[in-house]
Amino acid sequence: MEKQPMETAVEQPRQSEWGLNELMERLDGDQELLRELLVMFREDVRINLEKTRSAIGTGDYEGLSRTAHTMKGMLRNLSMGAAAETAAALEKASRENREGDSRELLEKLVKELEGILPEVEAQLAGVGL
């Protein structure tokens, strides 16, 4: 079977691409709002990753697609472009019941989020001072 382009992307770990400047522009420089959103993000990422793992475990691709959609919106809003695109690909793959792709994309998303979360923590520590 021919490999799909998204599967090759899984092979190459990417660095976090958090467009913080773009985000701050959208927030009109509001540091307090940034902090509020990042605290929400930290919690929402945890909840949504749990949901995706549970959905993939039970073969609930509709639920997986819904959660991936939510994550995509959240990541885009916070200018976390690369992870947002992975979430978008996961949403599409799970909507089409592509189990293998869904699993790989979820792992890729987890790695990308693992790259972003320390930056978020650092930002929270800095902003919170």
């Binding site: 509001d30 709002l33 959609h69 995509k72 919106g73 200018s79």
Partner: protein
Amino acid sequence: MRILVAEDDAISRTLLERTLQRTGYAVISVENGAQAIAELGKQDAPRLALLDWIMPEMDGVEVCREIRRRKGQAYTYLILLSSRESKGDIVAGLESGADDYLTKPFNVDELKARLRTGHRILELEDHLVEARESMRFQATHDLLTSLWNRGVILELMSHEIMRSRRERSCTAVMMCDIDHFKSVNDQYGHAIGDEVLREVARRLHNSVRSYDMVGRYGGEEFLVALNKCNPESAVSRAENLREKISARPIQTAGKPVSATISIGLALSSEFTHSTVEEIMHQADIALYAAKAAGRNCVRVAHPSGGDKPTEEQPKETQVLMP
């Protein structure tokens, strides 16, 4: 201005809330489509709404359809929030009743610009509704006195008489005419005459119950219909109207002008086999009787009196007051 934000994702919702608040909006936030429908159905609902496309319970497209199904409410400007993948569905979104769409993550300037478009549409709608209401008022009311005009008062009274027949109740029809009105115009001019007409209209209108009807029948003639009127108190109520006019002079821009009215009263319960036109005719005959009896008085039409009154003392009228 108030705006509704319906978005299930907390981050997106918070971002929208703060951006809109900074722009000067009072934001009402909900988390799903069902809550959006409930908010938009309230009496003083926001006229602008930002609806996420995909939400639990009811999505944004369904909310648009439901809002557009509702008739008689002020227009609500609906903007759908969609992700980039949904572009192919945008036509379906707009056809469901959305006015516009915005791609997430939104650009602040684009959001503001699209909301300004919404404001323009809502302002235009307000102007159109205002113009329609004004035309409706002008088509149904007398321009000088703001009472019902002749066509409308006749129609309303006709319906009321029919209803009172079905319910075996009584509608009191009063034809009222300002006495010697021509001499008011001759002596003080038409501008003062108009002031007298307006004040008589105001006093008549303020002297009846909210569900009674007063209209300008023509010139200095007014038609009053008292719904569900006790026949035994009809004469005293007519007397009360007459006294409201004669009790004190009318203060005009020129000088105080004394005015009186004569009233011809016909009770629908006394003319159960007559048409509305015949009842009107009887009230008219009674009015002439009141004029003939010296004016500033009430005369009641009586069904046993025949239909060819003499000029001085119509047989149809029963003189109840000196």
